[in-house]
């Protein structure tokens, strides 16, 4: 296990290095340089132009710039944003990365869970209406033009029905007299969710270890108590309505991202299930007189999960594309939108910073998935 993870970590660090290199040379390959924006100004005296070039270091040889780029990236120093001057790139990213993480993590978890559950069912009861509707619906959503679908969701649920806000991160009216800024609230919410997850997970692991008969009851209880406590605390805190406003703004983008991506997991799960069903140990599980549901969930689905997790890792990179589009469509001020607007406004430091962070995010997600895989497959875990 340790060896496996060490190997994967080294691989990922190498990948990161290659990625940073590519980003740098892609940027350098652009025509002109960063000072062009300013030095095109005819009123600028030549000395100032030279000064600017000196300042930005564009006169240095390429390899020196590259080393500086590497050093800056590794020390987390991405410089100052042009478009959001005088904020530093690091500051902007720190503000926006959590928003993207939440959007992604939520949609990913839901779509994976939904896809896996549906895939399980349609593999087991083949030919039913559940199979037809979910396959047809899933594949349509999977292949639909994402911006169009996002706009349709807005049109339907925000514009026509008026249930949800049209886009953006928050409603300024609600936040006018807010005692704190949205990021504080948002990060607090994040911390809360993380806390609840840890508690629920701990209870699940503890009850499973002890093989308690009341395990499902205890787990349900833990979830209920934790949720109730959280809701109670937030309501009492006086900023509950602010948190609720953020949640309201999250629903539509999360739902859209979930809908366009669950079908991949679903179809993969289905195929993987149909493979595993043919395996010998499944017949043995049946011969042991286990109930159908146990055979399906504990024996078939548990093994079918492994290849699904593997290809899920590979699909993560593609999910980033969808994420950028969704953030733009819903004006969600996360990394995707930052990336797009920085590029459009030629805010090079911010664009590079955003790029690098999206890359790191994907790589970390890969590593997390590797850990998960190792946890799920004892053949990897004990090697």
């Amino acid at each position: 296990m340790a060896g496996y993870l060490l190997r994967r970590t080294v691989q990922i660090l190498l990948t990161l290095f290659v990625f940073l290199t590519i980003v740098f040379f892609l940027v350098s390959a652009q025509p002109g340089d960063i000072t062009r924006l300013y030095s095109m100004d005819p009123s600028l005296p030549p000395e100032t132009r030279a000064n600017l070039q000196e300042l930005f270091g564009v006169n240095e040889p390429l390899w020196k710039q590259y080393l500086v780029h590497l050093k800056n990236t590794l020390t987390g120093n991405f410089g100052v944003s042009f478009s959001l001057y005088p904020r530093t790139v690091g500051d902007v990213i720190l503000e926006r990365l959590p928003r993207t993480l939440v959007l992604f993590a939520t949609a990913t978890v839901i779509s994976f869970y939904l896809g896996f559950a549906l895939g399980k069912i349609i593999a087991w009861r083949r030919g039913g209406w559940v199979e037809y509707t979910s396959t047809l619906g899933g594949v349509s959503l999977y292949t639909v033009f994402t911006p169009w679908f996002g706009l349709m969701m807005i049109w339907l649920f925000a514009f026509k029905a008026g249930w949800l806000p049209i886009g953006k991160f928050l409603d300024p009216v609600v936040w006018r007299d807010a005692p704190t800024d949205s990021n504080t609230i948002f990060n607090l919410m994040l911390a809360t969710v993380a806390g609840v997850t840890v508690v629920v997970f701990a209870v699940a692991v503890a009850t499973k270890k002890k093989r308690l008969a009341a395990a499902p009851l205890l787990q349900a209880g833990a979830i209920t108590v934790a949720t109730a406590a959280v809701v109670g605390v937030w309501l009492a805190s006086g900023v509950g309505h602010l948190a609720f406003d953020l949640v309201k703004h999250m629903i539509l983008p999360v739902a859209t991202l979930t809908l366009i991506s669950f079908a991949g997991t679903m179809l993969l799960t289905r195929n993987s299930m149909l493979e595993v069903i043919r395996e010998d140990h499944v017949m043995v599980a049946r011969a042991k007189g286990l109930p159908e549901k146990v055979v399906r969930d504990k024996h078939v689905a548990r093994n079918a999960l492994l290849p699904v997790v593997t290809s899920f890792v590979f699909s993560l990179a593609f999910a980033i594309d969808g994420g950028v589009i969704i953030e733009s469509v819903f004006s969600w001020p996360g990394m995707g939108q930052t990336l797009v607007s920085a590029t459009v406004s030629e805010d090079l430091p911010l664009a590079v910073g955003a790029f690098v962070f999206v890359g790191i995010f994907v790589l970390v997600a890969h590593l997390a998935a590797d850990v998960l895989y190792a946890y799920l497959d004892p053949r990897v875990r004990y090697r």
Partner: protein, 340 residues
């Protein structure tokens, strides 16, 4: 001679009531539906297994041995159909039971050891847990008692108890098969079916596993149906043997009798194909020709295209049952002067 040999053994024949049958199969018929038509894998098979008796089923690959085993547990693939017949387990018929009703009999009353080449163990769970799972499905107990039982079972099949919490990939082939036997014994079934349990193992391991299986079968006074294509193996473990050909049992009787004085030409052919049973090597040439196509089995005696004694009547009429000593066969021209 086996301690299991009961004086009544000689009377065991089709449909004849026997003193204490754990299992009585009557006219069992199971077809697989395929695009080309029905594959008649099990066609009118009848036999009985006594308590504590060890029965061997032998026959060429593809003659329907595994199909019988799976039909007894009613673990049939989607395209399989039980056409008719009774599966009397301790007197109660399993044939009409639903899948849900079957569950309480599976493993609890009839358990199975699968081929060693099969991945009978789920790779993601600890072996001990997989045995406990089988126990929990049928017997109410505490985790401590279950664990104690697993330790007992590991001891019974000579496995190191240190391997209880290990995963299948940490086991060798022979160990996996021992674990498979331990798992099959978990609920002390009335009947254990072992379908080619040693076929994929090397000879030395095969021999040890066989001895182990025989030892526990005798110690637990459990009934055993041992399936193999290998006559030598059957001779070693079984008191009674059934010879299968093309979805049917063609000869049945006490192993010593059947092997020393076969009355069905097919049995004789099989014997010569496995010379180690009877001694000096015979010509293997007799087992030539294609095994029959179960889609359109030959009319009359199914063995007639390959039988050196075949006559016209063999080609058109179902052969009658003939008896000789402890055994019977289905043949028009039995060897050794058996009579109908």
């Amino acid at each position: 001679m086996d301690t299991n040999a009961k004086p009544t053994a000689a009377k065991r024949t089709i449909g004849v009531a026997t003193p204490d049958p754990v299992l009585a199969v009557e006219d069992l018929t199971m077809y697989y539906a395929t695009r080309a038509g029905d594959v008649r894998a099990v066609d009118g098979v009848s036999f009985a297994v006594q308590r504590g008796e060890s029965v061997g089923l032998v026959g060429e690959s593809g003659c329907g041995k595994s199909s019988i085993a799976m039909a007894l547990l009613k673990l049939l693939p989607e395209n399989a159909r039980l056409i008719r017949g009774k599966i009397l387990l301790n007197g109660a018929d399993l044939a009409p039971l639903s899948d849900d009703e079957m569950r309480e009999h599976r493993w609890n009353h009839i358990a199975m050891v699968f081929q060693a080449a099969m991945n009978a163990l789920n790779p993601v769970y600890r072996v001990g847990d997989q045995i406990i799972e089988a126990l929990d499905a049928h017997i109410r107990s505490t985790p401590e008692i279950s664990m104690e039982r697993v330790r007992e079972l590991f001891d019974l099949v000579s496995l190191d108890p240190g391997f209880i919490p290990r995963y299948p990939h940490e086991y060798s082939g022979g160990m996996k098969q021992r674990a498979g036997i331990a798992m099959a014994l978990a609920c002390e079934p009335d009947l254990l079916i072992a379908d080619e349990p040693t076929t994929a193992l090397d000879v030395i391991v095969q021999d040890r596993i066989l001895k182990e299986l025989r030892k526990v079968q005798e110690a637990l006074y459990m009934s055993l149906i041992y399936i193999s294509h290998d006559m030598a193996v059957i001779a070693e473990v079984s008191h009674t043997v059934g010879v299968m050909y093309a979805g049917r049992i063609v000869e049945w009787g006490e192993t010593v009798d059947v092997f020393h004085r076969p009355i069905h030409p097919y049995t004789q052919t099989l014997m010569s194909a496995f010379p180690s049973v009877t001694g000096p090597k015979h010509e293997l040439g007799m087992l030539s020709g294609e095994p029959p196509n179960l889609l359109t089995p030959p009319p009359g005696c199914r063995f007639h295209p390959r039988c050196p004694y075949a006559t016209d009547v063999c080609r058109s009429e179902e052969p009658p049952i003939v008896r000789s000593g402890s055994h019977w066969a289905a043949c028009w021209h039995p060897l050794d002067g058996a009579a109908a």
